[in-house]
């Protein structure tokens, strides 16, 4: 049994509490959050030890691992404290808000032989894993374009008062949504060499970006595009989609399915597929989990972390060493966007009521 504590009981923290608590090889011994209104019923009904201060938690509890699901700006400090006490760490994404510091933490964890895993859960989605296998199998030949898109309904009006809407705390669409899109690109095709044309645009927020667009270039000549927008009410929840164009075909993947188009009939048959379109569904791609909450990938990443802590590091598909590369890429986007003159982003035009037809076909004077 691994003794685990959780720090941070927000949306992800509560979800992790359920997943870790339900894991057969885990004993959740304590939770820590400054919000006392949550701690009391947890203590009363579950018997968990509760702390409102993490230092006290670290001093009083003997832990194998800690789950850090606080607002992002606290990640680095908490990870350091855990590693210094020889505690394995599962940290929510984004890992750190400064890649240099993140790199130090990676080194610290590695020097002590500790597991560091970051919650980029899309790496555990069966469909994205299948996309990676297909890409690496060469079935679509040399890839020349990858597009990673994340859309969802988070900020839909000009207000909001959590850390997610605060620039210095790791808020904004870039850290919240685009980080996933960028991390999946790194997972699938490795790191880019260049970042161009980044736009971090506000739609409703005052302080942070609501949409992110950027062009990435790769050493082998491939081009990547990341598109993220968390002000999209047409989405029921966050949707994540990857499209990869290759010389011999195309792969499109989202959480539910993988669609593969293969040009050459012989190549297709070599891989046990049909020429033209092939569709692989989540029912075929997803491995059953011991406990399900919101998606198999969340359970799978927890299981992988516990396996890694138990001595099987290969199960960790999102080590801190790769998450810090995503952090570095996020920083490149920020620098690139700052390099763009604000004047290149036109101010929002005055609201016009032209109707759909007008919007589609009308011309502005």
């Amino acid at each position: 049994m691994k003794r685990v504590a959780l720090i941070g009981l927000g949306k992800m923290g509560l979800s992790h509490l359920a997943l870790f608590n339900a894991h057969p090889d885990v004993e959740v011994v304590a939770v820590c959050d400054p919000a006392k209104f949550l701690l009391a019923p947890l203590a009363q009904y579950t018997g968990l030890a509760t702390y409102s201060d993490h230092t006290e938690l670290f001093e009083k509890e003997t832990l194998d691992a800690v789950v850090i699901a606080t607002p992002s700006r606290y990640h680095a400090d908490l990870v350091r404290q855990a590693f210094e006490r020889n505690i394995h760490v599962f940290c929510e994404k984004p890992f750190s808000l400064a890649a240099e510091e993140g790199q130090e933490l990676v080194a610290l964890g590695q020097s002590r032989g500790l597991v560091g895993q970051v919650g980029y859960h899309y790496r555990y989605v069966g469909a994205f894993q299948a996309a990676k296998r297909l890409l690496e199998s060469g079935v679509i030949g040399r890839a020349h374009n990858i597009r990673s898109e994340a859309y969802g309904p988070v900020v839909l009006r000009p207000k909001g008062g959590t850390w997610r809407s605060s620039k210095n705390e790791g808020g904004g669409c870039l850290y919240d949504y685009a980080s996933h899109a960028l991390d999946l690109m790194n997972y699938l095709v490795g790191q880019p060499v260049g970042v161009k044309g980044t736009v971090l645009n506000k739609v409703f927020s005052r302080d942070v970006d609501d949409e992110v667009y950027s062009t990435l270039t790769y050493a082998n000549g491939m081009v990547g595009h990341v598109l993220a927008n968390w002000s999209d009410e047409s989405q029921r929840k966050m949707s994540m989609k990857i499209s990869i164009w290759g010389e011999g075909g195309k792969i499109v993947a989202d959480r539910q399915e993988v669609q593969v188009f293969i040009r050459d009939a012989d190549v297709a048959r070599e891989h046990g597929l049909k020429p033209g379109w092939n569709v692989l569904y989540t029912t075929e791609l997803t491995e059953e989990v011991w406990f399900y909450l919101r998606g198999e990938e969340y359970s799978a990443q927890v299981d992988a972390f516990i396996a890694a802590v138990g001595g099987d590091p290969a199960r960790n598909l999102s080590p801190m060493s790769s998450a810090v590369q995503t952090d570095a890429l996020i920083e490149k986007l920020i620098r690139d966007a700052e390099g763009l003159s604000q004047a290149t982003i036109p101010a929002r035009p005055a609201k016009e009521q032209r109707g759909l037809i007008g919007a589609l076909f009308g011309t502005r004077s």
Binding site: L9, G10, K11, L14, S15, L17, A18, L19, N21, A22, A35, K36, F37, L38, L39, A40, P41, L42, Q44, Y45, T46, G47, L48, P153, V154, V155, L156, G160, G161, T162, R164, R236, K237, S239, K241, D254, R255, Q256, E257, Y281, T282, T283, E284, E288, V289, W290, F291, Y292, L293, R294, E296, S299
Partner: protein
């Protein structure tokens, strides 16, 4: 409890196989009369129960049913609460406590907590839970809701966290205030059964995936099968076709053969599909489990 239940995923852009299909369905059903047309097809095919999340748009369906009592003389709603994305998005936008505040009418219990730093005492948790249930049930006033479900994200979150006492609060309030049977939707039936037994909820109605390929039957298909045969709970099978991965006849045959399943819930978007599936249920499931 009705033996055949009509589900609502197709109306709200939920499709476990394809986001494209989900979007196409969301477009088609953004017109409420289109939903009603499909519901009418189900009702006319002999399906009396509509199991629906407490999505804002269900209110219009409730209005329609209330306005046409003769047309819907035997129609019953099986509400499933809450519509979890409503809460999840609100928590992301406002934080947990403020989101909770937005979901509730003014209440003393929450007000005290909101003032900051206060702990939530036992009675407060029960009180807040009951207020949340009442807020979700408001749209159904004047309709029949003989079974009321706790939706799976919430059931499984509470289950995993070990807040099993909340199931008791839910079940008691549903029985007392709504004179209805409490039901639980879950993706983790074996674990939930143990938790419900621990808080003294006997022979519970549990709606979960039950399908031949074991899709999203966490805890293991064989454990589900064993539990169903033991008849220690009242199972409702959903995702019987595993989003189309299993041919309909084979899928329903499997559930019928298990013996102890009390009801099947399925969703469909066309009259032809509804009639066809209902006919298969009548042929294979109802006689086998009568």
């Amino acid at each position: 409890m009705e033996r055949v239940i009509f589900g609502d995923n197709q109306f709200f852009g939920v499709n476990h196989m394809s986001e494209e299909k989900a979007r196409a369905q969301a477009m088609r059903f953004q017109d409420t009369s289109e939903i009603i047309r499909v519901l009418d097809s189900a009702y006319d095919a002999g399906i009396r129960a509509f199991m629906c999340t407490t999505h804002d748009r269900i209110e219009a369906i409730c209005d329609h049913v209330r306005a046409n009592p003769e047309r819907y003389a035997d129609f019953v709603f099986y509400p499933c609460m809450p519509y979890a994305h409503k809460y999840a998005n609100a928590v992301t936008e406002h934080g947990l406590l403020n989101a909770l505040g937005k979901m509730l009418p003014d209440s003393g219990a929450l007000g005290a907590v909101l003032k900051g730093g206060m702990s939530m005492a036992k009675r407060d948790m029960q009180g807040i839970g009951e207020l949340l249930i009442d807020a979700e049930m408001k749209m159904f006033h004047g309709t029949r809701t003989p079974v009321i479900f706790l939706q799976n994200v919430v059931t499984d979150l509470l289950l995993g966290m070990g807040l099993h006492e909340a199931f008791r609060i839910f079940a008691d309030h549903i029985r007392r205030k709504y004179d209805a049977e409490p039901g639980f939707i879950t993706m983790n039936t074996p674990m939930l059964l143990k938790a419900l037994a621990r808080v003294g909820i006997e022979n519970p109605i549990i709606c979960s995936n039950i399908n031949k390929i074991g899709f999203r039957m966490s805890g293991g298909k064989d454990v589900y099968e064993q539990a169903i045969r033991s008849r220690s709970f009242r199972p409702i099978a959903m995702s019987v076709l595993a989003s189309g991965a299993i041919p309909a006849r084979e899928a329903i045959d499997y559930v019928a053969d298990l013996g102890g399943v009390e009801a099947i819930v399925f969703g469909a978007s066309s009259k032809a599909n509804i009639v066809q599936t209902k006919a298969l249920v009548d042929e294979l499931f109802l006689p086998a489990t009568a």
